[in-house]
Assembly symmetry: C2
Homo-oligomer: 662 residues x 2
């Protein structure tokens, strides 16, 4: 154990194990999670080279091997529960992307959801056993967000009872699907269905792309890797171009919509259920944001406890950099955010399961709000986390730029979350649409429920400055509940401003859609304030469930820090509408500094509670055993001068002209 | 020419060539810059593979070859002026790092500044000719910011008249110097000088590290690459460990301090001049921030003009994404920032040259302010640019994550600027120290001059809320001058708050240093506000020099956008102290939306004016010829499935157990 970290741990005011149980949901969950993690950590088959020292191609090869191993081991270990699979993968992969993941996360689920029984019989077993490796090809070079704009066509030919697949333009080439570039031999392709001369919109087709056995692209198929990316080296995101490529009619997934042998189109009864998958994935991503941020905080805070630098008082030993107020101000609000997002992630999971059960009973009433909430929270948490990981990295000084910190990999693996599964700005505008609908509902005299119920209390005509006194202004900056009220008032005010600006634009412009676009900056701001309120509210409510007094105290400080930091960053929003006074904002800034001091002694224990065994695998700076600098020196020795480099340098030295051409 | 871009250019309200002349300083500068750029762009020796598709080792090899070529070509082309060398390198290297750069940027200048004539005679010619390749080894594994903490020792042995160099601890190993890992055979090493049993602090020594001819590390030297990093693949940042390694007495750079043969230490007369180098490098980095941000804006705005997606009105063709207000709100304030920083960069260069001349005449009076200003502006512009490059990248949707955008490389190449040459928080605190000194000076009845002269106008006791009415509150949000006043008042207020909080802490705490640490968050905030004011002021003043009316109009809009966006982001600062009213902030938000609409028709011309010929070399999305998607498809084809991958996948397919072990 590192001496600095040992001292930090001994000084903590609480037992981190108890907090780990809170984060996992129960002591039993913690036990089982560790059991699964240890299966992997103790298994020699799961050791592999440090990926940072490999080429992209080598990283891909390691990933393919690991993917194959993983499938086998999960079977061996009897791990089948989705949550347990997630724990297993998270430790197994250590911030690592696997080429066959889409077979399990998209190909098989889509087959199950949209395939007929006969189709499942035909493809399910072999895709589960990886004879077939499938992926899901939706995005095209020219279209991601706007699904209706996808250009790939599947034209039915009744004579042969086949669909003819085409990529009619450069922009229609499928682009980005994971595992498509090299690994997969099948893809579920989304294409515009054309039959009897009419286009019926997007449908899903099972498309063989490579020959089983030889793994060569099939005739009519052009497939390959889209090239190097910012991270995701192990993943072969790919392209797919189809030229008059024929597949049997039976390859269209026909559980809902159908094309009869003669080409007659039978439309689906309902498509509400596909809605559920999006909601599930986005609510899962909120938890991923929490996890990535927690990991970044663990590394940055541990390193800040170990790193000694400069001096506070001249002549005294160099302090831990965690003792500098500026370092605390960089990291502790992020630590508070990590906890906030952990609780939001847990809430999203519970809510999803609850509403999913309701849906099972035919009750879809809560789905619109859940959809709006997951969209907004996915954007809010991923934007925040994205910037926060980089802040953690830059808080580690020079070593943050080295892969030894593990932070660059956390960043590049996380950052696509801001764009995939719904681009964040688009997500915020979806939430805004729900907020505007709710606002209109209140204005037409109906009450709204759920997280937006604060709109019921809106006094009319309130945004005129002279009438702001209507607000209750007694915010107690030491009460999470009172601060939640302040965030609620801010959200209500920004929703109202967006709604009124939208109304004004509607009056001025020729179309509602143009008005919407010209108000979209206000709409995004309103959604952000709404999401921020939800996070603050959930964190405050979580405190009520904490029994242990020592845990309650530290979490309450983090909750206050999260709330007050947000107010300080967005002080204008809280001053406007007189939610808070100028002198309160001054007090907020003072109180934040006091909270930094209060959190300081528990900072290391607070990241220990996240219980990342695997930090040590990906990060030298996050290690807690021994001397971090000795580990760093060992790590660096893995990239000696190789022979080609030596010969080049040697030849250069011996040439007086200093021209070294290849 | 791409059709969308052609249409954008035809619709512009001004001639971008005229604006390019403004940015370059004169039409003659533009002409000469292009002449140099064309030398490279037309030279087949400078074409090379796309680095994105190479391994780290291959990238390093290309870089070494290019470095060698560059030295030769600059000689051939007769390029010797420092500014011209910079242009040459910038185009030549295209966001590319060269292993021998430290030989020219640090080794030779240090030899010239600190070496005696005899030392220059001995090493200068061969280092200019690259027989000797030198680097500059200062940072150690355990110390970057805190120079006095460096642990490497150089102990003088009068018997042999040698220095004995040692790395006594793991943390004392030199870490990070560019070109040290593989390329260099000499290093200027900073070490604690010990002679006659006494330590005299840091001094510079010329240390041979590899044998000329064989390029093997010399006995007593352990040297190598520190391993993979976030970017900088081409650079062999290295480590250096010395064990009782002896160098002759003559290898200590002795222009100022000296060690006599008997070991007597002769201290330097003055060390003010080393100050100058830091100031120069930091002021240069302000220009680099401007350049990197301008490039990122060029790519993101061109791509947003070419990319069509979604719909504003149903049934109409897909709009350019640049027509979405949210996209404009993401990009145009950054474009305004890029222009702001361009002008700040030009100002810094002029000021540096002016003050350098003064220093030449023995006048050091302006050096403290220049030092404070460069420190703060280096931090302010690099933090802003760092976040802005990522915002540009994420504004490009999925393609922003691909190296085809060029943006990940711009980011990873730029981001170290936040840490090197003075860690940003440390820089901000240096500026704060100057601000506090100036504040104290005013309070003791003396006037201050230069950028801080606003402190002369501070009414005493003004931060009490009840007295805020003292401020003039008539801010005209359509006047850059009036907005500059508002920023000035904000800076003055935050400097005063920091000063008062510091005073309070000094009274409460046992030491000034502890008080400083416990106020450092306020101090950084004050420095940021000061720097923000300086940027706004310089941009506003630049407008006065613009003759052409059409150019003046677009730059004025950008200046307003920069000022108002900053106010909107930091509204709390402007509401507090009643610098602005709530209804003014509401107007600011409205005015920003109008400015987005005003900038929209000129957005492409505004990035064209940056005149980056080289964008097309590093970025597919930034290209302006033909169809960007066709270029993208060609680009992706450069990474086909290789043989090892194929064999692995093929073997996997034929094994029923699906276990592929390496």
């Amino acid at each position: 154990m590192n001496q600095d970290l040992r001292r930090e741990r001994e000084a903590a005011s609480f037992n981190p194990e108890l907090l780990t149980h809170v984060l996992d949901g129960s002591p039993e969950n913690t036990r089982r999670r560790r059991e699964i993690e240890n299966l992997i950590l103790n298994d020699p088959d799961f050791q592999h080279e440090d990926l940072n020292f490999l080429t992209r191609s080598q990283r891909y090869e390691v990933a393919v091997r690991k993917s194959a191993n993983m499938v086998k081991k999960m079977r061996d270990f009897g791990i089948a529960d989705p949550e347990e699979i997630m724990w297993f993968k998270k430790v197994h992969l250590v911030n690592f992307v696997e080429p066959v993941s889409l077979n399990y996360s998209m190909f098989i689920p889509t087959l199950l959801n949209q395939g007929t029984t006969a189709q499942q019989e035909k493809w399910l077993l072999s895709s589960k056993g990886l004879q077939i490796i499938g992926t899901y090809a939706q995005t095209e070079m020219g279209h991601g967000t706007h699904l209706r704009g996808l250009e790939t066509t599947a034209t039915y030919d009744p004579e042969t009872q086949e669909f003819i697949l085409n990529s009619p333009t450069v922009t229609s080439i499928k682009w980005w699907p994971g595992g498509l570039g090299k690994t997969s031999n099948h893809a579920i392709v989304l294409a515009q269905l054309i039959t009897k001369g009419k286009c019926y919109g997007l449908h899903a087709f099972i498309v063989p792309i490579r020959e089983i056995g030889t793994h060569k692209p099939l005739p009519g198929i052009t497939v390959g890797d889209i090239g190097p990316k910012f991270g995701y080296d192990e993943m072969d995101n790919g392209y797919l171009k189809m030229d008059n490529y024929r597949i049997p009619r039976e390859n269209m997934l026909m559980k809902y919509a159908q094309v009869k042998p003669d080409g007659t189109y039978v439309k689906p009864v309902s498509n509400k259920l596909t809605y559920g998958t999006m909601v599930f994935v986005r609510s899962f991503l909120v938890g991923e944001a929490a996890r990535s941020l927690s990991k970044a905080c663990t590394i940055a805070i541990r390193y800040s406890a170990v790193r000694h630098q400069s001096e506070i008082k001249p002549g005294e030993p160099e302090p831990q950099i965690l003792d500098f107020q500026t370092q605390q101000y960089k990291l502790f609000p992020l630590l508070a955010t990590a906890y906030a997002f952990q609780f939001v992630g847990a809430y999203m999971k519970e809510t999803y399961h609850r509403i999913n059960e309701d849906i099972g009973h035919g009750d879809l009433s809560e789905l619109p709000e859940l959809h709006a909430l997951t969209a907004g929270l996915k954007a809010f948490t991923s934007w925040t986390t994205n910037a926060a990981i980089e802040a953690c990295r830059m808080a580690c000084g020079g070593h943050g730029y080295s892969h030894c910190s593990g932070l660059p990999n956390i960043y590049v693996t996380f950052t696509p979350t801001c764009t995939f599964e719904g681009e964040n700005t688009v997500m915020m505008l979806q939430t805004a649409r729900f907020l505007m609908k709710s606002y209109d509902q209140v204005h037409s005299g109906k009450l709204v429920c759920g997280m937006v119920s604060y709109l019921n209390d809106l006094p009319t005509q309130r945004i005129q400055p002279q009438q702001v006194a209507v607000w209750p202004t007694v915010v107690d900056i030491d009460s999470p509940d009172s601060l939640t009220e302040a965030y609620k008032l801010r959200a209500a005010r920004l929703v109202e401003i967006a709604a009124k600006n939208l109304q004004n634009e509607v009056i001025r412009r020729e179309s509602k859609e143009v008005a919407w676009n010209l108000t979209s900056v206000d709409l995004v701001r309103a959604s952000e304030a709404h999401c921020h309120y939800v996070v603050v509210k959930l964190f405050s409510e979580k405190l009520l469930q904490i029994q242990d007094k020592s845990i309650h105290t530290v979490l309450r400080n983090l909750c206050l820090l999260y709330c007050l930091y947000g107010i300080s960053q967005k002080a204008g929003d809280f001053l406007q509408g007189s939610i808070m006074t100028e002198s309160q904002i001054t007090q907020v800034n003072q109180r934040i500094k006091e909270l930094l001091t209060a959190v300081r002694p528990d900072a290391v224990a607070l990241v220990d509670a996240f219980d990342f065994k695997d930090v040590t695998l990906g990060s030298v700076l996050g290690r807690y055993d021994g001397n971090v600098y000795e580990h760093l020196f060992e790590w660096a020795k893995k990239s000696p001068l190789n022979k080609a480099e030596y010969l080049l340098l040697h030849s250069w030295r011996s040439q007086p002209s200093h021209t070294v051409n290849g």
